[in-house]
């Protein structure tokens, strides 16, 4: 049985200027899953994320933590925010201390932990994102990718159950993206539920267990990436199909079946492996 950790039920939200950013948005985030949220610019991903952490409150509908409606009292929000870590899109808007170590300590200090406890968590979090070396550097001397890691460490140090990242890959070079995926994978391995907003279809297709596609403040499709991302209406909305899926499809039209135990490859690596395996089979006498 798959358990829901956080869910939105018919959530609507309008910004003060009257923009309807979310309208009857319903979705479920499963515990322990890797969820990718996709959608065109302005679809409402960031707005939805701000709801997950209790920063915005729905004007209609409700959010549920493991089935019970969120409690927006002081204590309720405290609980929620220590369980749901939110990493913003622009690192400069999240880092407000001048030194790396200090900034990472900000969240745990807010939780009211002892200094010793905070110190341990900070070192642990910095280690988890591979930033121990740069711990004493001033934030403004870090590269963009390093700043992003510090942001994650800052959230990680609060030991959340879910980490929600708004476009973590944007602005990173290919190597950094790969390293970043590895960091996400490690976090996921340690039992943290991960939600990522992204414009990178290929990444979503290869990485996620669950895809949510948004359009104009609503959920357009919700389910396994290999189904959702190949749906016709989703393709029309996002304007593309995952490259790996497209290649497999074209090859299957040519009569080359890349299925392995019934599964098509999901990432570049898997695709290459499947093609190699297939060629080898063909060449066998």
């Amino acid at each position: 049985m798959i358990s829901a950790i956080l869910s939105l039920a018919d959530v609507s939200y309008s910004y003060p200027d009257g923009t309807h950013a979310l309208s009857s948005c319903s979705l479920t985030i499963r515990r322990g899953a890797r969820t990718a949220v996709l959608g065109a610019n302005g679809a409402g991903k960031t707005t939805m994320f701000l709801h997950l952490n209790g920063i915005l409150r729905p004007s209609a509908g409700q959010l549920q933590w493991e089935g019970t409606p969120l409690d927006y009292s002081r204590n309720g929000l405290r609980m929620l925010r220590s369980r749901v870590g939110l990493v913003f899109q622009n690192p400069d808007s999240q880092l407000f201390s001048a030194s790396v170590r200090e900034d990472v300590s900000f969240g745990p200090m807010n939780l009211g932990l002892t200094d010793k406890n905070v110190r341990e968590r900070v070192e642990e979090a910095l280690h988890a994102v591979g930033m121990t070396e740069a711990a004493d550097k001033p934030v403004h001397n870090l590269s963009y990718g390093q700043k992003k890691r510090v942001c994650i460490a800052g959230v990680l140090a609060m030991k959340p159950e879910i980490i929600v990242l708004d476009e973590p890959m944007a602005g990173l070079d290919a190597t950094m993206q790969e390293e970043f995926t590895a960091v996400l994978e490690r976090l996921h391995g340690s039992g943290i539920t991960i939600v990522v907003a992204t414009h990178d279809l290929d990444f979503a297709y290869g990485w996620a267990d669950q895809a949510i596609v948004m359009r104009a403040g609503r959920v357009l499709a919700h389910g396994a990436p290999r189904e959702v991302l190949l749906q016709k209406d989703v393709q029309d909305e996002l304007g593309a199909v995952p490259l790996v899926a497209e290649i497999s499809r074209q090859l299957s039209l040519l009569g080359i079946d890349l299925r392995d135990n019934g599964y098509l490859p999901r990432s570049k690596g898997e695709l290459l492996k499947a093609i190699t395996a297939h060629t080898r089979q063909e060449n066998r006498p």
Binding site: S82, F88, S99, F106, N110
Partner: protein
Amino acid sequence: MLTELSAYTNRWRQAPPAAKGLFSFCGMAAAFAAGSPRTALLVALILSAATILGAGVPVLRYLRVATPALLFLLASGLSLVVSLDFGGSTGGLSAHLAGAELPRIAQVSCRSLACLTALLFLALTTPLVDIVSLLRRCRLPDTLLDLMTLCYRTLFVMSEAVHETITAQSARLGYATFTLSLRSLGGLVANLSVQVWQRSQVLQLAALARNNDGALRFLGPDYPNPARAVSGAAVSGLLLIILAVTLP
């Protein structure tokens, strides 16, 4: 940011800020205690030697950081020495040399110089982050320190924004002529005010997201052997004050 660079790269970066703050404070006390310009100069010399030889700040960088303040000191010293007089008894413009006041002016200038070197010592060996955490331990009001932290951080974020905006404007010939420059400058200021406002809003959201409910709390850094360093600083600082008091 030359100060910044030194603060993070000097030999005494890892020394506890309490020790450096104490020594700097003693330096200022010694500057005030100095009975003659000669003694004040000696104090200044010792303090700058501590910065250059002790903390290993390159001489040239030290001079470059000190120059603006020194020029300012020189200008104010000169304006004390020479006083201009309009009208007066003769009706014309006349300049007076303040003859009798000279020793006192020398005294004030040399003391200021010594104070300057004491402050430079702290600024060039200790990052602002450490200074703030030191002040926090001295029980300065949180609001003031939070402001310092935010201003400092914002300085870098904003300078980047200014840089980017100017580059973008120049790329579209925003500064090609004088009139265009004025217009672009106006645009820059307007754009920056909006950006400052938006950024401060997002910063607040980010603070909320990490469970903040008011004061910005951070973990102070940890230093090896704080007691030894602080007592070392106390002893050398006291010696400096005694020197300043006993010398004529």
